[in-house]
Amino acid sequence: MSHWIIAPIILPALLAPLIAFVMRYDIVLARAASFAGALALVAIAVGLAVISADGAVHVYDLGNWPAPFGIVLVLDRLSAVLVLLTAVLALIVLTHAAATGWDTRGRHFHALFQFQIMGICGAFLTGDAFNLFVFFEILLIASYGLMIHGGGKVRLQAGLQYVVMNLAGSTLFLIALGTLYAATGTLNLADLAVKVREIPIEEAALIRVAAMLLMVVFAIKAALFPIQFWLPATYANAPAPVAALFAIMTKVGAYAIIRIHSMIFGPEIAATDGLTGTWLFPAAAVTLAIGAFGVLGARRLMPLLAFSVVASMGTMMLAVAAFTPWATTAALYYLIHSTFAAAALFLLADLVVSRRPEGDRLDPAPATVQNGLFAALFFAGAVAMAGMPPLSGFLGKLMILDALRDPQFMALGWTAVLAGSLLVIVGLARAGSVLFWRSTAVAAHVPAADDPEPRPASPIQIAPTMAAIGMTALLAAFAGPLTDFLDAGSRQVFHAEDYIAAVLGPQEVPEVPQPEPDAVEDPVQEEG
């Protein structure tokens, strides 16, 4: 059993209190520690991705208690690739936050940042539904602090709404877990998969309730219709680097739907047959429509980008709702792409908005410094987000369209994706032309005596945005190998027998613990 599986959780968990208590008055030290942590996390995540590439499901029994009695962490291709995505995004966002000085505008940025990373990595790695709840709470409580980082009236009010919304969501999560436990008597994901398979259709009422409650909880996180309304207010008012980091938080909800509703309440399970997809697919289409119209109608840049995140979640969940391995592969590719595209746009928006006297309002204003460079970067980010060639958004949407060729999905799915893309293109083009193009026609800004000219962005401030856009270019360039990896990963999710065998051991675990637990435990250890 490889101990490296728990490293992405332990490392930030140890680093965060160290930064909070030992380095609280020394921002240089805190930055150095945070960077070292982020770099180490990238290295660990690459290592885990290499480990997971052998196709086996790796299990880590905490305290060496055998599943389903102990808590397990599970590493398969899906969780490995998402941990790697988190690590790379964290490094990019951290560089931006340190280079632009966002981390000095309030206290404990780096400690909260590390706790957030811990919660996200934990949610991706855990193999236990209650542990998923705990990691959700960790990433949420850190996100509350990050959301109101820097303070200000509007931000605190938006932060309060965000906290209330998510606390209500957490309560619902607990009730869903209680229902699940009452129906099956377990919360271990592998054990749940076994138990749900055995439930006959006539006794399935409770488990169907639990499945739908869980979907509502994850839909809150993934910002799906009708509970997407918190996202634009939150992302538009959060500090821009935090909004860029939050790009992965909606993906945690999407991951949970893929993991739980594909593996446990999957398509061929008698008790919950077709239940999730029936609701998820129309909800995703409406989400995409709301996001697209929001992009078209937004009058400020930050809400516009927030609505583009809503649209990308809708696009992605259309593919997830098909619940086939190939559609999930397409969704995962689009997930990685949209994370980097959204992060790039939010980071760029921070650079632009902080230099405009009008802030993020989409009004023509005199050209600010480095207008050409920012325009080029916005163009590249918008191309990625809207899904035009040559960046990865195009390939992602193409894969999603291909995955939705089933006549059951094709009419609504293709219409939603294609029309939504058109609206997003128009909206982003309008924003770009107002921000950068028409600004050159306005008379040059005459700086007042007490109004210092905005300083041009230094290379280190632009580098994170370029890195995020570069990642979408890399995704497009290496789409073949990546898709093969993701396809193997989604097959692993849909072929739950491997997961169950790895976690519970090859033989069926009886209800009451037997005197010889070693028989259950040994095969797991050999595989790890």
Binding site: F130, V134, E137, I141, Y144, I148, G151, G152, K153, L156, Q157, G159, L160, Q161, V163, V164, L167, A168, S170, T171, L174, I175, L177, G178, T179, Y181, A182, G185, L187, V512, P513
Partner: protein
């Protein structure tokens, strides 16, 4: 027993939802606390209700026991809900001090309480 537990969950949830919908910081905090109590009792009851039974497995014999796992889950949930409520109070206090009002997701036009107060003053 079942009736008491079920109706307390129901009453707590109803009260919690009503208070959350008041859209003011203090009722919302109380409402979320009530909702978390309801969730905790519900979670506790998910292991079946059984009186006078030890929460451990008897090694010998067919002794009756009550499921210990929901109790552990409830304990974790209580701790988390407690911490979250404390944090929510702090965020609400910060928002109130900065903004000067305790509205949550409510525009000034919708603020009936404030309008009445203005009329009364005028």
């Amino acid at each position: 027993m079942e009736l008491i537990v079920a109706s307390s969950v129901g009453v707590l949830t109803a009260g919690g939802v009503y208070l959350v919908l008041r859209l003011r910081a203090f009722p919302v905090i109380l409402g979320l606390a009530l909702l978390s109590y309801a969730a905790n009792i519900f979670l506790f009851a998910s292991g079946r209700l059984r009186i006078n039974a030890p929460p451990v497995l008897q090694k010998y014999g067919e002794a009756v026991y009550t499921d210990p796992l929901p109790q552990a889950l409830t304990l974790t949930a209580i701790v988390i809900a407690f911490g979250m409520t404390a944090l929510l109070v702090m965020v609400a206090l910060g928002a109130f001090i900065e903004a000067g009002d305790d509205r949550i997701d409510m525009t000034e036009a919708d603020d009936a309480g404030k309008a009445v107060r203005k009329d009364g003053a005028a």
